[in-house]
């Protein structure tokens, strides 16, 4: 099959799976998950085929796979919808396909497939476990099929976003994913915390999305197209760069880029819209958490990278982007240091890593950003799944001891899981090292080092230092997490009895860990000592082809390399040193209230926005405007209308309308009807005949009188 058609088909299987499950198979759990996984596998297969064909093409950047259809006639020309796979989207497609497939597979195990139904499980609450001859065991998720339906829809959104060749369908996929994250965060809708988190995430991202929509609309109104390849032509870009937008001195390009960027800020949880992501950890499982923390949020970054030519037009915007990115990176990293929930740590680290990418784009380090995006997606997915596996193992312990009050996600309840869950431990270790950029072997090192090198080479000293600091913190809290979770001795009874999870959960871990290490080697810079040039810097060549002018490779500089070595190893070492024998949360020196409460951002927002809006709606609108003003006016209307109505009735209605018009017309109609009645014989042919006669007579008259 032609590649273009194949690309068209890529997003469909998960969507079909969604409808299939929702409409038909939701009663049958096994069928549901096989449908979902089968769909994910089909998409994965297609993506791999597309990817391999893409790699095969020479100068893929100049002539990517693209096809489009006329969708909407807009006056003189068409609004086109279509698909586009160029080097960038091919690379993204690669990791999306892998991660999505892994998630689907992993969910089977995570939701305790094969376990008995819970004794007193309710839809909308996490499974409480069942008693199987005597002792209690995990119980299967009550809404198992629904979960697979949701992630199927999510996968559809992600694929759509990646393969689409214009901002509109990208936005569609974007919003579908927003919906999915809402559904998945609020998956256990019986838990108030989950409900609120879902609403919070939805509202926060919505704020960004509205701006993004504004940006898209502005872009369309000023260029008349939303297709990337039509926007990124010399003439269009130049026009955009020259038109002034009239808003604080930005060019149109700048303003559009800014709007789109706000959308990204919402979607990939950049400061100041980062607040939803930590709460999103209320989502039932690390699976859903990882869906919208490792995959979906990269959609935001992807959007920015996708529109990079537009961003690069306006220096102001670039500066803002870079600033926000760098700030988020350091800001989130500091928070992550003080979190105890294994998932929240990862959430904040995600935020800070995304900040990395955003900062990289802000500095114009295009390829570095893409590279880090992909490596990060892999090892962060690995970490989330690993944490899920850990929690699952801990729940095993919980079921063993029966102490359901213990929080299986608190790292201070863990420890010493190294021996209990070897596979999870090693894979988690790999992921953690990759995240903290452990030198040479891990993928994270190469991508992060490239960003730092870029920052240094282009002389963005402030950003360079910030990012280096962030990298140090990253390494630190990663090691803290690993140490608290796996090393040392079990702190609780549950941790003692945790044991390894089943293959459906460990297989994805192993596969992802391969990428977490290996993916770095496709992007080793050429001028790197010793290693450089051993493996050609394929990634740079391939993805660099996306841009019109191919970005040149940086000259090697020893400073950033040393920096990243120092921060990575130093952070890891320090983390291990401090936490090697911390027994309880009290002994943790770094539990500053400020950090623990995420700089009180939730409270601030609550005070600044939520309370006022509540006041506005309840007091101002409801009590004053509605009850007071509007009702008051209405109450005035009543008597007045009554008076007018009565007079009209007595002096006009009764005598004139009723007696003269009403009865008079009725009588006349009755009379006419009585006399016309015989015509209506009820014989269809006569009706037809009559109409034809009339028609021919009238037609003839018209013809004779008017035309002739």
């Amino acid at each position: 099959m032609a590649t273009e058609n194949l690309i068209w088909l890529l997003p469909l299987p998960p969507l079909l799976a969604f409808f299939l499950i929702v409409l038909f198979t939701n009663k049958n759990k096994a069928l549901s998950h096989s449908v979902a996984i089968g769909a994910a596998f089909l998409s994965w297969l297609g993506s791999m085929i597309v990817f391999i064909r893409a790699v095969g093409v020479e100068h893929f950047g100049e002539h990517p796979f693209a096809s489009s259809i006329n969708w909407l006639p807009t006056g003189d020309n068409w609004f086109k919808l279509g698909v586009l796979i160029d080097p960038l989207s091919a690379a993204v497609l690669f990791f999306v396909a892998w991660t999505v497939l892994m998630i689907f597979l992993y969910s089977v195990g995570y939701h305790n497939f094969g376990q008995p139904a819970g004794d007193h499980d309710h839809k909308g609450l996490p499974p409480h476990g069942a008693t199987l001859h005597g002792h209690s065991v995990p119980s299967i998720e009550p809404m198992y099929s629904r979960f697979f339906a949701f992630i199927g829809l999510f996968a559809f959104g992600m694929y759509t976003l990646v393969v689409s060749d214009n901002l509109l369908t990208l936005y569609v996929g974007w919003e579908i994913m927003g919906l999915c994250s809402y559904l998945l965060i609020g998956f256990w809708f019986a838990k108030p915390s989950a409900r609120n988190a879902a609403i919070k995430a939805f509202m926060t991202t919505r704020l960004g999305d509205v701006f993004m929509l504004l940006g898209i609309a502005f872009l369309y109104s000023s260029t008349g197209t939303l297709t990337y390849r039509e926007i990124f032509t010399e003439s269009t870009l130049h026009a955009l760069a020259t038109i002034p937008s009239g808003v604080f001195g930005l060019s149109a390009a700048g303003l559009i880029a800014l709007f789109l960027f706000i959308g990204t800020v919402g979607k990939s949880a950049q400061f100041p819209l980062h607040v939803w992501l930590p709460d999103a950890m209320e989502g039932p499982t690390p699976v859903s958490a990882m869906i919208h923390a490792a995959t979906m949020v990269s959609a935001g970054v992807y959007a920015v990278i996708r529109m990079f030519p537009l961003y690069s037009l306006d220096a102001k915007t670039m500066t803002i982007v870079a600033f926000i990115g760098a700030f988020t990176a350091i800001f989130a990293a500091t928070i992550a240091v003080a979190q105890n929930d294994i998932k929240r740590v990862l959430a904040f680290s995600t935020i800070s890593q995304l900040g990395y990418m955003i900062a990289a784009i802000g500095m114009g380090a295009y390829i570095a950003a893409v590279f880090h995006l992909i490596t990060h997606a892999f090892f962060k997915a690995l970490l989330f799944l690993g944490s899920g596996s850990v929690i699952h193992g801990m729940e095993h312990g919980v079921y063993h001891t029966g102490n359901h009050h213990l929080d299986p996600q608190d790292m201070f309840n863990m420890g010493g899981l190294r021996k209990k869950m070897p596979i999870t431990f090693w894979t988690f270790l790999i992921g953690g090292f990759a995240l903290s950029g452990f030198p040479i072997i891990t993928a994270g090192f190469w991508s992060k080092d490239e960003i730092l090198a870029d920052a240094f080479a282009n002389g963005h000293m402030a950003i360079f230092i910030t990012l280096a600091l962030a990298a140090f913190l990253t390494a630190f809290y990663t090691m803290r997490q690993i140490t608290l979770t796996f090393l040392g001795e079990p702190r609780t009874e549950e941790a003692k009895h945790a044991h390894e999870t089943n293959w459906t959960m460990t297989t994805p871990l192993v596969i992802l860990s391969v990428f977490a290490i290996g993916y770095g080697w496709v992007g080793i810079p050429e001028h790197f000592p010793l290693l450089g040039g051993l493996i050609p810097n394929w990634f740079h060549e391939f993805v660099g082809g996306t841009l019109a002018e191919h970005p040149e490779t940086l000259p090697f500089n020893v400073v950033p390399l040393l920096t990243s070595l120092v921060v990575a190893l130093g952070g890891l070492g320090l983390g291990w040193y401090i936490y090697r024998d911390v027994k309880t949360a009290e002994q943790d020196k770094l539990q500053f209230a400020l950090l623990k409460n995420k700089y009180y951002f939730d409270e601030i927002y609550d005070y600044l926005f939520i309370q006022p809006s509540i006041w506005f709606s309840e007091v101002f609108v409801s009590k004053w405007m509605d009850k007071g003003v509007i009702d008051g006016i209405l109450h005035l209307f009543g008597p007045a209308t009554g008076g007018i109505g009565a007079s009209i009735r007595n002096y006009f209605d009764v005598p004139f309308i009723n007696q003269f018009l009403g009865d008079g017309s009725a009588n006349s109609v009755y009379w006419i009807g009585k006399n016309l009645r015989p015509i209506q014989t009820g014989r269809i042919q006569q009706y037809l005949l009559l109409s034809l006669v009339v028609f021919s007579v009238v037609g003839g008259l018209i013809y004779i009188l008017l035309l002739a």
Binding site: T681, R683, I684, Q685
Partner: protein, 102 residues
């Protein structure tokens, strides 16, 4: 080569014949026969215009096909109606089916 006018005149004649059938037959089935004649006349026109217009534009033939479909639907429903009427009223004389009058 046959001039277009012949076809048009032919279809006009066929149409009128069908119209006569529709207007004058007593039997409902016979009326439907007349309708078929009219539809055929239309089709001849469509195809003739296709042939004598721009050959590459297939609109004429396509419409002819659509008319086939419509004719089939019309006949099936119409005859079904006739039969069910026959079951209830035991007649298919159009003039007897005049419940529609006052």
């Amino acid at each position: 080569m046959i001039p277009l006018s012949w076809y048009l005149l032919f279809s006009a004649a066929l149409f009128s014949i069908g119209l006569f059938g529709v207007l004058s037959r007593r039997n409902a089935v016979a009326i439907l026969l007349g309708v078929e004649l009219m539809l055929n006349a239309i089709n001849v026109n469509l195809v003739a215009f296709w042939r004598y217009g721009d050959i590459a534009v297939m609109a004429g033939q396509v419409f002819a096909i659509i008319v086939f479909a419509v004719a089939a639907a019309e006949v099936s429903v119409g005859l079904a109606l006739v039969i069910s009427v026959y079951r209830r009223r035991n007649t298919v004389i159009a003039e007897d089916l005049d419940l529609l009058k006052w």
